[in-house]
């Protein structure tokens, strides 16, 4: 155990070292002080007061899904199951039913996304040939009950006003400006922001 003895810390030697390093440390304190002054509330702060203030997210943000509607209010989804197949987390459940419509033969009578499993990869949006499922910028998903409240069914996925307030998120193969404001007023002013 020679090594043990040789490694005994010489406290006085270290104290000397610290003495010579005072300038270096003073420079460090100056940086801290500068940052402190810089971040006086209201000036240049990076911390935001969530949930009153929110960070703006880009138009590609992959948040909670939304189902889009036809002009007559029907779901655009034709229950082709492509989204459910593409989903790596296997969290989409669809049940199809037939309709007596010339153009469309099938609609989804049940469409559920288990958001407690969803990893927000956006593969379902990529897969859909109809743009029947898109994503929004909604992200605050905390609930008291993960069994029911995170199972989003058709009515939850088509809450128009709420979804509109969060703003449209990721849609397939589209170019978006880098960062847009989060504010709902600004979003509704732009037609391309509509979910439908």
């Amino acid at each position: 155990m020679d090594k043990k003895d040789s490694q005994v810390v010489d406290v006085s030697a270290q104290a000397m070292n610290i003495g010579t390093g005072v300038t270096g440390m003073a420079a460090g304190f100056a940086v801290t002080l500068k940052n402190m002054v810089r971040s006086v509330p209201g000036r240049n702060t990076v911390t935001i007061q969530y949930p009153e203030q929110r960070k703006p997210y880009s138009r590609r943000f992959r948040g909670v899904h939304a189902l889009t509607l036809r002009p007559n209010g029907q779901l655009k989804c034709t229950a082709c199951f492509l989204c459910a197949t593409a989903c790596p987390a296997e969290c989409i459940t669809i049940e199809a039913s037939s309709v007596t419509d010339d153009a469309i033969e099938k609609v989804a009578s049940r469409y559920e996304i288990d958001l407690s499993r969803c990893i927000f990869c956006g593969f379902c949006v990529d897969a859909c040939p109809e743009e029947a499922i898109v994503m929004t910028r909604e992200y605050d998903l905390a609930t008291h009950n993960r069994v029911d409240e995170l199972q989003y069914d058709i009515s939850a996925l088509t809450r128009r006003e709420e979804i509109q307030a969060y703003g449209a998120g990721y849609r397939p193969h589209m170019q978006y400006p880098l960062v847009e404001s989060y504010l709902p007023t600004e979003i509704s002013a732009k037609p391309q922001d509509d979910i439908d």
């Binding site: 492509l82 990869c121 880098l178």
Partner: protein, 412 residues
């Protein structure tokens, strides 16, 4: 004593055995972690102590085991992409890159030059982001609080850029087989330019905090040494290896994704200790910034970002709505995935923590037969017993921080 509990029984068992024999009677076993803020996740280190002196330090891992490799076998090649994000979640882009390069190698897919450069761009951005987290947390482990806030502040800008391009901050899945998921967003290059203009300024202020600070230097110099031979014997890679003086950077040694077109140098140190590893990483951030500068001129803001090979790439949207053939491709790709020719492949890239590689065995189907991730932190963590032996307890914290482990990466 103790060497069997760890996941790794080191070759240095002789040394450990001798030292434990002598002090057997009065050693104490202490668990560091798994719930300890300085272990950077859920790492448990089984420490055998003789007073303040460490006799043995065995990492016990698996608390974050998720079974990614097995999961991947039941997913199609596109879907596996989402798993790679979650391995090393501070550098998801380099994981993506290693994986898509492996599949592309096996399939012989041609990737457009512009997409390759954008991949370089994001790899280097994540390298800076990852090193910033390391710098903040490592220095915080050593007792300096404020740097953590500043590094997080700057990292936020990188995450914003990643979010703007890929849609999410942490698990982007941005690189897909054949190219990229989406093109760069409007104004991205301006934002990058702004970031690069700011970088020297904040790096300088960070350096002021630790450069001449005797407290930091004393805690790093000569601590947690790994010699070059030991590092090579344990497959240590990345900055940890380059801090032992060995110039091995896969970006230079086996250029991939167009790295050969970029000019940069590989920071090397010979100190073998925590101090050397510290400065290798800090200097790497400047080199990454240099690569990003070159990206500004090399990448046009608009252009092709995905191969036109319909065997792997989803057809463009406007075609899906109007073209029957495109719609069939869409259905086929989504429902069946693309078949990958039979064979096996290994492809590795230089991640922020070292060699990130994927070994994929294909049986010709749309799902991997075997999907193996060679994650750098797993190998780097094996150095714990060597680094900590005969050191002080406080230096165990330095050792953990200085090899920059990522538990998602270790436990898989």
């Amino acid at each position: 004593m103790g060497s069997t509990t760890g996941f790794f029984t080191p070759d240095y068992s002789d040394e450990i055995a001798t030292s434990t024999k002598e002090v057997k009677s009065d050693t104490m076993i202490i668990n560091l972690g798994p719930q300890h803020p300085s272990t950077h996740g859920v790492l448990r280190v089984r420490l055998e102590l003789d007073g303040e002196r460490v006799v043995d330090a065995q990492p016990v891992i698996g608390y974050l085991h998720t079974g990614f490799e097995k999961t991947a076998e039941s997913l199609s090649y596109q879907q596996c992409n989402t798993i790679t994000d979650r391995l090393d979640y501070l550098a998801p882009m380099t994981n993506n890159l290693a994986y898509v390069l492996a599949v592309e190698k096996l399939m012989d897919v041609e990737v457009p030059k512009r997409a390759q450069y954008i991949r370089v761009l994001f790899s280097e951005l994540t390298r800076i982001a990852s090193h910033l987290v390391w710098l903040g947390t490592h220095v915080m482990d050593l007792g300096a609080m404020s740097l953590f806030f500043y590094t997080m502040r700057e990292r936020e800008i990188i995450l914003d850029m990643i979010e703007a391009a890929s849609g999410v901050r942490m698990n982007p899945s941005y690189f897909r087989v054949g190219g990229l998921a989406y093109d760069l967003p409007d104004g991205f290059m301006e934002k990058l330019q702004e970031f690069l203009k700011d970088l020297p300024r904040w790096m300088k202020s960070f350096r002021t905090l630790f450069e001449d600070n005797p407290l930091i230097n004393e805690r790093l110099k000569g601590i947690a040494t790994i010699t070059q031979e030991q590092a090579l014997a344990l497959s240590v890679t990345g900055p940890n290896l380059r801090a032992t003086g060995l110039n091995l950077d896969l970006r230079k040694a086996e250029p991939y994704s167009g790295y050969e077109d970029f000019e940069f140098s590989v920071p090397l140190k010979t100190g073998c200790d925590a101090y050397a590893r510290f400065w290798v990483r800090v200097e790497e951030m400047y080199e990454s910034a240099a690569i990003l500068e070159q990206c500004l001129t090399k990448i046009e803001p608009r252009g092709v970002y995905m191969t036109s090979d319909r065997k792997v790439a989803l057809p463009p949207r406007d075609q899906i709505y109007g073209d029957m053939e495109a719609l069939i491709h869409q259905f086929k790709l989504v429902t069946q995935g693309f078949p990958v020719p039979e064979g096996e492949v290994y492809q590795s890239v230089e991640g922020p923590r070292g060699e990130m590689g994927f070994y994929i065995v294909s049986d010709g189907g749309p799902r991997p037969y075997r999907w193996r991730a060679r994650t750098p932190s797993f190998y780097n963590l094996q150095t714990m017993p060597i680094m900590c032996k005969d050191g002080l307890v406080a230096d165990v914290i330095t050792a953990i921080g200085s090899i920059d482990i990522m538990l998602g990466d270790v436990d898989k």
